[in-house]
């Protein structure tokens, strides 16, 4: 009995330690944002947020460029989400429901793209963007981000469609429905949770993307938050509280949405990789 109790206690301590490690850096970001200067540079740092400093979040959005950065990130992320899910649904459907010449090649290519680093592709893409005048445009970033997140979106949606019984579609087709109608009326509503998960993945892929944004955008007014925040690193002009406040506002939606659809994201990502 004694040993059993000890086991429980040890487990609780271990779980709390893991949670502490997992959450502490973001907690510290929050605490730093809400520290007065005297706390920040004191010999003993304050370990809890000073809620009296809450105005830093308001100031971070009202002054400076942070609000504009976040708006640019939002535009890029929404565009990428719509485009990649819009292209990923038909691609996933084709891979799931049809057998056709070249299917194996398409699947291999989709998996292959997962290993290409953005840093490698940025040079030829820069040349392409210059030729088509996509430099310094949010639309250009939407296009390239969609292309990079599309394979994982399509593979997850293929897995989801695989899970729907074919009989439902056959009934609709026997009724004379065209494939596109079947897809939109029968399949799409049934895979809604997976579509939501891929939408979140695509949105935050673009929200977090840095390499293309920093290389293809020169106009400071078009910078997304990822680039703006990265420029804070090693820079000394901006108060660290403002830096952390902006970074926290940038991080919070990503964490919140991922937690919401976590289950589907994880099963989708592993299923996509296993089956290929």
């Amino acid at each position: 009995m004694r040993r059993f109790r000890f086991g429980i206690t040890a487990r609780i301590v271990a779980v709390l330690a893991v949670l502490g490690v997992a959450v502490f850096p973001l907690y510290w970001m929050f605490v730093t944002a809400l520290s007065s200067n005297s706390d920040l540079f004191a010999d003993k740092p304050r370990l809890t947020p000073d809620l009296g400093q809450f105005g830093v979040f308001v100031d971070a959005l009202a002054e400076g460029k942070a609000a504009g950065w976040l708006l640019n990130s939002l535009i890029i992320a929404v565009g990428t989400m719509v485009l990649s899910v819009g292209l990923g649904i038909p691609l996933g459907y084709a891979l799931s429901r049809f057998s056709f010449w070249g299917k194996a090649v398409v699947t291999v290519v989709l998996l292959f793209t997962q290993m290409l680093p953005e840093a490698l592709m940025v040079v030829p893409l820069f040349a392409l963007f210059r030729r088509f005048e996509l430099l310094d445009s949010l639309a250009g970033l939407i296009l390239v981000n969609s292309a990079f997140v599309l394979p994982i979106v399509a593979l997850i949606l293929k897995g989801a469609i695989d899970g729907i019984p074919k009989e439902l579609e056959e009934a609709a087709r026997a009724d004379g429905a065209r494939p596109l109608t079947t897809l939109l009326r029968i399949n799409v509503p049934l895979i809604a949770p997976s579509i939501a998960a891929t939408a979140v993945i695509a949105f935050f892929h673009a929200w977090n993307e840095y390499v293309f944004a920093v290389t293809f955008i020169f106009n400071p007014d078009l910078q997304p938050a990822s680039v703006g925040i990265a420029n804070f690193i090693g820079e000394l002009g901006t108060p660290i509280q403002t830096v952390m406040a902006v970074a926290f506002l940038f991080t919070l939606p990503a964490v919140a949405f991922y937690l919401l659809v976590q289950k589907y994201v994880v099963s989708g990502m592993t299923a996509g990789a296993v089956k290929g």
């Binding site: 997992a22 510290w28 084709a94 296009l143 026997a174 690193i233 949405f257």
Partner: protein
């Protein structure tokens, strides 16, 4: 169910007037129509640029005059493989990747086993553990840099307080501690993913088998090896593959924390290729370095397929 019954009827009574009855899946072109837009997209933004990079790797091309490239055959490859600094880059890449794979999966497994037992608040604990994985890489690089700040960073203050202060102060400026710090940050971001995936694999471990093994007098470790490990082995293999590929291509976390420094201590292949392209402005060498990374990834992927196939056949245990 009602849908099926209602629409089942026309099957037996062919409609009048339907001259060209569509085959069950439309014409043979239908799948191509569905995938064409996506395929075009991937062709333009991934396939063509990749082929251009392959070409660039055999040329001498300067960033400042990229349209003028001179074919040099294997020169770029000969040069980088003859360069001791590139050997170090390869070594650092291998150390970085292997540490990420082993520690992220090991830590993930420990956390998954901890969270696999029922206890109050398990749902909250599972959600909170996911936080690092959901956080944007940029924000992670920023907070890690701040926490590791020489003067005011919480890590240095803590280390000083317990008498383990880093000589010279800054961890990220130390050739000795920079790579471990970058690794720790990377693994902090990765372990939630491995633990959540392993946790879902653990759900399918048959509990009665575990109990049977315990009743038979098997120790915990023996039970784990005989039952749990056998069930989660394919998942561990998959995670090892994903962690390898992701770690080979990881850029922004390392770049923003150290830019590959100090004196190349954290320079992985991707960092090396980026600085070749944009600092040294040598697109040809950069492309060649990139190709080395792509080939390593390909070897890992094909190798893992072969191993998986051998395991399925039962040749390897």
């Amino acid at each position: 169910m009602t849908v099926v019954e209602q629409t089942g009827a026309p099957k037996t009574t062919p409609r009048a007037g339907a001259r060209r009855r569509p085959s069950p899946l439309g014409s043979k072109w239908t799948p191509y129509l569905f995938l064409a837009p996506a395929a075009l997209f991937i062709l333009v933004f991934q396939a063509v640029p990749l082929l251009q990079e392959v070409y660039l790797s055999f040329t001498r091309t300067r960033l400042l005059n990229p349209t003028k490239s001179e074919w040099v055959g294997l020169d770029n490859f000969n040069r980088i493989f003859g360069d001791p600094e590139f050997h170090r880059t390869l070594l650092i890449t291998i150390v970085y990747v292997i540490t990420c794979v082993v520690v992220a999966i090991g830590a993930g497994l420990v956390v998954a086993l901890l969270l696999n037992k029922k206890f109050r608040g398990r749902g909250v604990a599972r959600a909170l553990v996911t936080v690092p994985w959901a956080a944007p890489g940029i924000a992670v690089a920023l907070i890690a840099t701040w926490m590791l700040n020489a003067q005011y960073g919480i890590v240095n203050r803590f280390l000083d307080a317990v008498g383990l202060g880093v000589p010279g102060g800054s961890i990220l400026d130390s050739p000795r501690y920079a790579l471990p710090a970058v690794l720790a940050t990377t693994i902090w971001q990765l372990f939630p993913f491995t633990s959540v995936v392993l946790l879902s694999a653990l759900q399918s471990v048959p509990q009665d088998l575990n109990e049977a093994a315990t009743v038979d007098g098997a120790g915990r470790w023996a039970t784990f090896r005989a039952v749990t490990w056998q069930v989660i082995k394919p998942t561990v293999g998959l995670l090892a593959l994903l962690m390898t590929i992701w770690s080979l291509r990881r850029f922004e976390l390392i770049w923003l924390m150290t830019k590959g420094g100090p004196v190349g201590a954290t320079e992985t292949l991707v960092i090396d290729l980026y600085s070749q392209a944009f600092d040294s402005k040598e697109l040809g060498s950069a492309a060649a370095i990139g190709m080395v990374g792509v080939v390593i990834s390909l070897i890992v992927i094909i190798g893992s397929r072969l191993v998986a196939r051998a395991v399925e056949k039962g040749d390897v245990r």
